[in-house]
Amino acid sequence: GAGVSQSPSNKVTEKGKDVELRCDPISGHTALYWYRQSLGQGLEFLIYFQGNSAPDKSGLPSDRFSAERTGGSVSTLTIQRTQQEDSAVYLCASSLARLSRGYGYTFGSGTRLTVV
């Protein structure tokens, strides 16, 4: 597609339930990132996928968070047993390559997750 597509755009879930967030990156972009944006917290790196390499999971806040990328394209971020502190906007971005000089991210519009 022309841009990075994320779904759903909004998700309200009950505490303790599992949620799945989907990201469809720009065709041909080999790198895919998940960030979390909380009010007053800025953008927090979660996970990075590059081609067939092992993902960089160093930003995942707990073992309740996991992500996968199938076929080098679509990615799913899963949050198990959601907590209220998981409420945030989850942003997906893709890039042409590793962060070589000059390449930037193209972000999706995000999924606003509210845990009640």
Binding site: Y33, G42, R98, L99
Partner: protein
């Protein structure tokens, strides 16, 4: 502790005024980018700077990368209501896998 600190955090100015937003760190970055984000949308890339001392202009926006590649500034001339948004700087260290984002500057331009 944020790797990149932006100032000011909030800025409200009248249309036609000039402004400068600062992005500072004690770390060296191999490249630095500026993004603008509007409500309900993801950040949109404005510019990338990679060389210490580099200055780039985008219409009324001027971006500068510090000589030591630890800081950057964004200057807007004759601000317009369409400039309203959240401005974010982001830097990558060495050959790292991620951009570190700044704390953000929320700009409101009043008509």
């Amino acid at each position: 502790t944020q790797l990149l600190e932006q100032s000011p955090q909030f800025l409200s100015i009248q249309e036609g005024e000039n402004l400068t937003v600062y992005c500072n760190s004690s770390s060296v970055f191999s490249s630095l980018q500026w993004y603008r984000q509007e409500p309900g949308e993801g950040p949109v890339l404005l510019v990338t700077v990679v060389t210490g001392g580099e200055v780039k202009k985008l219409k009324r926006l001027t971006f500068q990368f510090g000589d030591a590649r630890k800081d950057s500034s964004l200057h807007i001339t004759a601000a317009q209501p369409g400039d309203t948004g959240l401005y974010l700087c982001a830097g990558v260290r060495g050959t790292g896998n991620q951009f570190y984002f700044g704390t953000g500057t929320s700009l409101t331009v009043i008509p």
